[in-house]
Symmetry: C2
Subunit: 469 residues, 2 copies
C-alpha cells in the first residue's frame, strides 16, 4: 500500500534533492483534454536533470509514495492523471527539454521537448523526424514514447517505437539506465527499450531518447480522393502500394459525417468538394527525385477506375496545408459535438470494411446515433466515435454509453481479432478493458514484469495495471 | 540447480506427452556452422504442435530439466548448443512448419518453417516477406525471430522484430500465450512480443508468428559501385537516400580483401570488375512504377562524381543473381581462409569510416593480419573479421586471439558507442562480452525479468545470461 505525498514528504524531498522545483500543481496538471477525468492535488516536481529525476524516484520509492510522470498532458486515456488513491507526486519533465546532440542519422533529445520542437530540430538539420500528431505542439517526446504514439505517418515510418533507437530511463529505485546508443542493429540482450516504450511510465521514467532521422523525400504531394466506400478505400490503398510501394506516407480515411460535423460546428475550414462525399481518403506521397507527384496521383486515379469518384490534388503548399487542416480539425469538431463514446481501435487492414459495416449494424439496432469513423486506415486503425442523433444531447444517452462501448469493443476483439487500444494507450481509462479482453497469460506476464521492476508499485500507480494490495 | 535429462526423465516425458517424438540427437543437433562449439548428447524431442510444446515445457519445468530450443541450427553464437551443464532436452521445432493462414497484409506461420519457405509462401500470394539471409534455406522463422535476425534488407524493412506483428509463445511453465494478432497498431499493455524477440529462447519458446507482408516494388534493380573508401561509401549512401528516400533496399559494403579471398579459395564466382577495387558497395533499389532502375543508377552515378570509381548495373536477372552470389559467397570464403576472430559489430552509420580506420590501426600495431570488413553499411553493421597474413595459419595466432577480439570490441564500445552483437545475438559466445560491456543496470533488469518469467531457469540455460546457482 502506498503513502500519500503530504507536507512532511515535501520537506523530505526538498532535503533529499537540493535545488528541486517543488510546488502545488496548477489546475492544468490535473485536467485532461476531454474533461472526463480530474486528478488529485498532490505535489508537483519539475526536475532539472536526470540526476534529480533519479533522486526524486529514490526518495519516493523509499517512502512508498506514488509518482505520476507528466509530459505535455495531451493523453486521452488518463495515463497522466490519477483521480484516486493515495496522493502522488506529479513529476513533470518540462524543464528537461534540451537537444543533446544531432547528426545526419540520429538525434538525442530530452524527454520534455515537445514533438514540434523535435521535428523542428530535425528540419533545421535538413532531416525529418516523421512522428506526426494533431497535438504535437504540446505533446512531449517522452510522453509520445511512453505511450508509443501513432499518428498519420505510421504507414510509412512506423509507430513511435520504430523511430526510437535508444532510451535513458530512471527506474523505480532511482537507478539510471543509460541505453542511448543510436544503433540500427543491437542484439545485446533483452529488448528493454521496447518494454519501456508503451509502458506509460509504469516501469520507468523516460528522461531522454535517441531518435532516428530520415532524409525527407525529394518530391512530396498531397491529394484528397473521394471514394464510394471503405471497401474502395482499402482497395485503393492496395493499388497505391502496388504502384508506389514504400512511397505512400499517409492514407487517412475521412467520413462524410466528419465533413458534416465541420459544417455544423466548425472550425471553419476550406471544403474541397462542392458536395461532400460519403467517404474520402487523404493521401500523401513522398517520391524519389525525377518523379512528379501530380503525375503519380494522375496515374493512380486512372488505374483506380470506379474506386474513385473525384479527386483534388494540392497544387501549392497552401492547398496542401488546407487539406491537412481539414483532417486535423476533425477531432475538434468531434469534441464540439460531444461523443457518447469514442473508440481507438484497430483491426487487420483487410477487415476494415467488414468491421465498419458490422459496427454500424450493431449500433443501428441499439438506437439513433451519428457515427464519425475516421483515421489511419493504412494501419487498420480507426477512431470509431459515436455521437447523438441530430438535435439530441449527449446526456440523453448516458444510460446507453457503457453498452455502446461494450458493443464496439466486443465486436473489435471477438469479431475481428482487433485491439481496443490502438494508438492512445491504456492509461486508467482502459484498465478494465485490458482485464476483459486480454489473455490471463498476458496479464500475468505483465504483472510479473511490473513486480520485478517496480516491486513497491510506485510508478504511475493505477495506469495500465490495477494497483496491487 | 537443474537436473539432467537422463533415461528416467525420457520415460516420464513419454508418459506426460502421448505421441511425442523422443529420441537421441543425431550429431547435426550438436554442431554449429563454424565448428567451434559441440553440444552434449541430451535428449531430442520434436513436438508436433503447440500443445505438445506446452506439455514438454511443463514436464521439464516440474522436473527442473533445462530445455534448449532448436531451429535451423544456423546460429553463429551457440545459442542452440549447450556444451556444458546438466544434460538438457533439445526441443526441435522442425515438425511445426505449417502456413496457418495468409492474406494480403499478413501471414501466420509456425516456427519451424524455413525462412526460404516463408518467403516462397509470400511470393506465391503476390507479396513479399523481406527478411533475407545467406542461410535462409535452413534457418527457421522461429529462430530468426528468437535472435532478431538482420540481414541484407534491414535498411529498408527493419530487423526481424520490425517484420513481426504477433507471436504465439510457450512459457517456462507450459502456459501458452496466444499473441498472434496481426495488427500494425496495438497498445494494449507491455510489449511482450518484442521482449520475446531477441531473447533467444531464454524467456519462452516461439511456436508461431504473424508476419507483415509487403507489396513487392514495381521496379527493381541491382548494381555494384566501386568506391575509393568507406567514407565515400557512407557519403554515397546519403546521396542515394537524398535522391531515393525509402527506395534503397540494400546497401552492402564489400572489401577488396573479400574479393581477394574469393580468388584465393573460392567459391568461384563471376568477378564484376577487371581489376578488384579496394572497396565496393552492392546497391539494390525498389522503385515506384514509371521509374527505370538503370536511369536511377545513372543519375546516382553522375551525382556521385568522385565518390564512385566505376559501376556495373545488372542488365538481367542472371546478372543480378551473379552480383548477389558474389556478396553471399563472402562468408564461405572467410570460413575457408579461417578467421582468427570474427566480429559482428555495429556503430552509428556516420562513424563507420572512422571505426574502420581506427580498428585497422590498432590491429596493425598488434601483428600481421588480413582484415575482411564487409556487411550492412546502411545499418552501421559490419562483419569485421580478422585473418592470418598470407601464407600463415590460424593456429599461429592462438595466443593473440583473445587480444584481437578484445581490441576490436573495446574500440567498438568505448570509442564509438557501438554494439558487440549487432545481428547474430548473444548466445553463449558473448555472455562474457555482455557482462563486460553492458551497464550493470541493464544486466540487473534482464536478470529480474528472467527470474520473473522463468523462475527455475529451465529455458535455454546459459544463453544470453549466465545460469544462476
Amino acid at each position: 500500500m502506498l503513502n500519500a505525498a503530504y507536507d512532511a514528504f515535501a520537506e523530505r524531498l526538498a532535503q533529499a534533492v537540493p535545488g528541486l522545483w517543488i510546488g502545488a500543481p496548477e489546475p492544468r496538471y490535473l485536467e485532461e483534454p476531454r474533461g472526463r477525468w480530474f486528478g488529485q492535488g498532490g505535489l508537483l516536481v519539475k526536475p532539472a536533470d536526470t540526476a534529480q529525476v533519479s533522486a526524486v524516484l529514490r526518495a519516493c520509492n523509499e517512502a512508498r509514495v506514488g509518482v505520476v510522470p507528466y509530459g505535455g498532458g495531451t493523453g486521452l486515456v488518463s495515463g497522466q492523471i490519477a483521480p484516486d488513491g493515495p496522493l502522488p507526486v506529479i513529476l513533470s519533465l518540462e524543464k528537461m527539454a534540451a537537444l543533446r546532440k544531432i547528426d545526419s542519422h540520429a538525434m538525442q533529445v530530452e524527454a520534455g521537448a515537445t514533438l514540434q520542437q523535435v521535428r523542428d530540430w530535425a528540419e533545421e538539420a535538413g532531416r525529418r523526424f516523421p512522428l506526426g500528431l494533431a497535438s504535437q505542439g504540446s505533446a512531449q517526446i517522452g510522453g509520445c514514447l511512453a505511450t508509443n504514439a501513432g499518428g498519420v505517418n505510421v504507414l510509412r515510418y512506423g509507430n513511435a517505437r520504430a523511430l526510437c533507437l535508444g532510451l535513458e530511463v530512471v527506474l523505480a529505485d532511482g537507478t539510471i539506465w543509460g541505453g542511448l546508443k543510436a544503433l540500427r542493429k543491437d542484439n545485446t540482450g533483452y529488448d528493454l527499450r521496447d518494454l519501456m516504450i508503451g509502458a506509460e511510465g509504469s516501469l520507468g521514467v523516460i528522461t531522454a531518447a535517441s531518435l532516428r532521422l530520415f532524409e525527407p523525400p525529394a518530391v512530396e504531394g498531397t491529394a484528397l480522393f473521394a471514394v464510394p466506400s471503405p471497401k474502395a478505400a482499402v482497395a485503393l490503398l492496395e493499388l497505391a502500394q502496388r504502384q508506389l510501394a514504400g512511397c505512400v506516407s499517409a492514407f487517412e480515411l475521412i467520413a462524410g459525417q466528419g465533413l458534416a460535423f465541420l459544417r455544423e460546428v466548425g472550425p471553419e475550414v476550406q471544403m474541397p468538394f462542392a458536395q461532400d462525399p460519403d467517404w474520402c481518403v487523404l493521401i500523401e506521397l513522398g517520391l524519389p527525385a525525377g518523379m512528379d507527384a501530380e503525375e503519380a496521383f494522375g496515374a493512380l486515379y486512372e488505374a483506380a477506375e470506379e474506386l474513385v469518384l473525384d479527386a483534388v490534388v494540392a497544387q501549392s503548399e497552401a492547398q496542401r496545408s488546407a487539406l491537412w487542416e481539414l483532417r486535423e480539425s476533425l477531432p475538434l469538431a468531434n469534441r464540439r459535438i460531444g461523443a457518447i463514446s469514442s473508440h481507438d481501435i484497430s483491426v487487420p487492414v483487410s477487415a476494415i470494411p467488414a468491421f465498419i459495416d458490422a459496427a454500424q449494424g450493431r449500433l443501428t439496432a441499439m438506437g439513433d446515433f451519428r457515427i464519425n469513423c475516421f483515421g489511419h486506415v493504412g494501419d487498420g486503425n480507426l477512431h470509431f466515435n459515436v455521437f447523438p442523433a441530430m438535435g439530441r444531447q449527449r446526456d440523453d444517452y448516458v444510460a446507453l454509453r457503457d453498452a455502446v462501448k461494450r458493443a464496439v469493443h466486443d465486436l473489435v476483439v471477438q469479431g475481428f481479432d482487433g485491439s481496443v487500444s490502438a494508438e492512445h494507450g491504456v492509461g486508467r481509462l482502459k484498465v478494465e478493458d485490458l482485464e476483459r479482453y486480454e489473455a490471463p497469460t498476458k496479464l500475468a506476464m505483465m504483472r510479473a514484469i511490473k513486480d520485478a521492476l517496480d516491486p513497491n508499485g510506485v510508478l504511475n500507480p493505477g495506469a495500465v495495471l490495477r494497483p496491487q494490495g
